[in-house]
């Protein structure tokens, strides 16, 4: 299967600042991928590159097997819902549907109509008067009715209240179940993505810090708690992702394929949020090598 998004040494520079650098990724098709990172980490830049709204400074990017936005066929493959789910405030819902039908060759009229009907909104209403949740749902309905192979959503739920957030993700997940659809969505809040993603990419300071399948990541990361000690004594197959020490206790997050055998550790499972945060708090300087040289830098390869 072709990757939904494949990048090779992709970079984007704005004047002097690199918004994204040396990004090599393989985001599988048919999956829901969460793109996580703090504000300014490069999420929107990567998504805009994938949508073809930006051109790379270095490297390459392929989306559903083609260069972004090169021709009409390529444009039809990718749906893009920009940050804060913008709509045309002066146009009605009906206008938006008409616009969608005119601009998209694969437009699914009945899907659009039924989704809008489910929202229970008056089609004559101007979208400038919709609530944030309603506008987000409309933008999602438009994105889905385009029938794209890949739907890209930039921070779709960030500005929504918890109820609207849940509703939005429910509709999105139903669409994934019904249509053959790859989804890439970004958020700076990991807990928003925990239930919906089966693949995750973490960006820190314009670079890919971690990428992989959620289940595989959860299976290979553990939190170890025990009496205070240094990480020098750790077995070679256990990579220390993060460490905290008090005067008596040491708490580590380690990545390992095998079991943790040392009985002095209490081993607990990590949720996705804690796992991702432990990678995000890792200082960038630690990536090139660790002071003690025994544990090595945490591996940041893309899990296949």
């Amino acid at each position: 299967m072709t990757a939904a998004i494949a990048t090779d040494a992709l970079g984007k520079r704005y004047r002097r600042r690199w918004a994204l650098s040396d990004c090599t990724l393989d985001i599988p098709a048919g999956r829901v991928t969460g793109l996580v990172g703090q504000n300014g980490a490069g999420k929107s830049t990567l998504l805009n590159l994938a949508a073809g709204l930006l051109r790379p400074t270095t490297g390459t990017i392929e989306v559903c097997g083609g260069r972004p936005a090169t021709d009409a066929a390529q444009l039809a493959k990718v749906g893009f819902v920009a940050q804060d789910t913008p709509t045309y405030a002066g146009l009605s819902i009906r206008d938006h549907l008409r616009l969608g039908a005119r601009l998209n060759p694969g437009w699914d009229e009945s899907l659009a109509a039924s989704r809008v009907e489910r929202l229970g909104l008056d089609p004559g209403q101007k979208t400038g008067r919709l609530s944030g949740g309603q506008r987000a749902q409309l933008a999602l309905a438009l994105g889905l009715a385009k029938r794209p192979e890949l739907l890209i959503l930039d921070e779709p739920v960030a500005s929504l209240d918890p109820f609207a957030r849940r509703e939005f993700l429910q509709v999105l997940m139903e669409a994934v179940a019904e249509q053959e659809l790859s989804v890439v969505l970004s958020s700076h809040v990991v807990s928003d993505l925990e239930r919906v993603c089966d693949h995750v990419v973490v960006l820190v300071d314009s670079q890919v810090r971690l990428a992989g399948e959620v289940e595989a990541l959860l299976d290979t990361h553990h939190r170890l708690t025990g009496p205070r000690r240094t990480t020098r004594e750790m077995p070679r197959d256990q990579q220390v992702v993060s460490e905290r020490h008090t005067d008596r206790q040491t708490t580590l997050v380690v990545r390992t394929e095998g079991p943790v055998l040392d009985p002095s550790w209490t081993v607990t499972q990590l949720g996705l949020e804690d796992l991702v945060l432990s990678y995000m708090e890792l200082p960038t300087s630690d990536l090139t090598g660790r002071g003690d040289g025994t544990t090595g830098a945490p591996s940041l390869e893309v899990l296949k």
Binding site: R166, Q170, M173, E174, V176, A177, D198, E215, Q269, G271
Partner: protein
């Protein structure tokens, strides 16, 4: 029909939670042979979770020979985990409830009750092994 729920704080992955909830329902006799599991679309619509999570859970249950998927129809229970011991559940539950009343009367709090149960349970397992 059963309904799933997810505990986001448990640290147990969503797909395993679904598997556990089906197994639990089979063990308690809530699901019997021939019963249909909720469709993937229904689960996704109620829980707002990734459909692949549900599919993965159902595939694992299928591998264990507990359910079978009929394409286009749904997923059905083929085997129950409630054995002959099901009849014994109710009296055992009553006994356990009596024990809980006794424990509370002795001033044992919930946390200590759980700890007591776990340590006795582990001790029991070792006794068998």
């Amino acid at each position: 029909m059963i309904e799933f729920s997810l505990d986001g704080r448990s640290g147990v992955s969503p797909y395993l939670q679904v598997v556990h909830q089906v197994r639990q329902a089979l063990r308690l006799g809530l699901l019997r042979e021939g019963d249909q599991l909720p469709t993937v679309k229904d689960v996704v619509a109620t829980l707002a979770i990734n459909p692949n999570t549900v599919l993965k859970a159902y595939r694992e249950l299928e591998r264990d020979g507990l359910v079978t998927a009929r394409p286009g129809v749904g997923t059905f229970v083929t085997r129950t985990l409630a054995d002959d011991s099901l009849a014994a559940h109710e009296p055992l539950r009553r006994e356990l409830q009596r024990w809980l009343v006794k424990a509370r009367a002795a001033g044992v709090d919930d946390e200590s009750i759980e700890a007591l149960f776990r340590s006795a349970f582990r001790g029991g397992q070792r006794g068998v092994a």
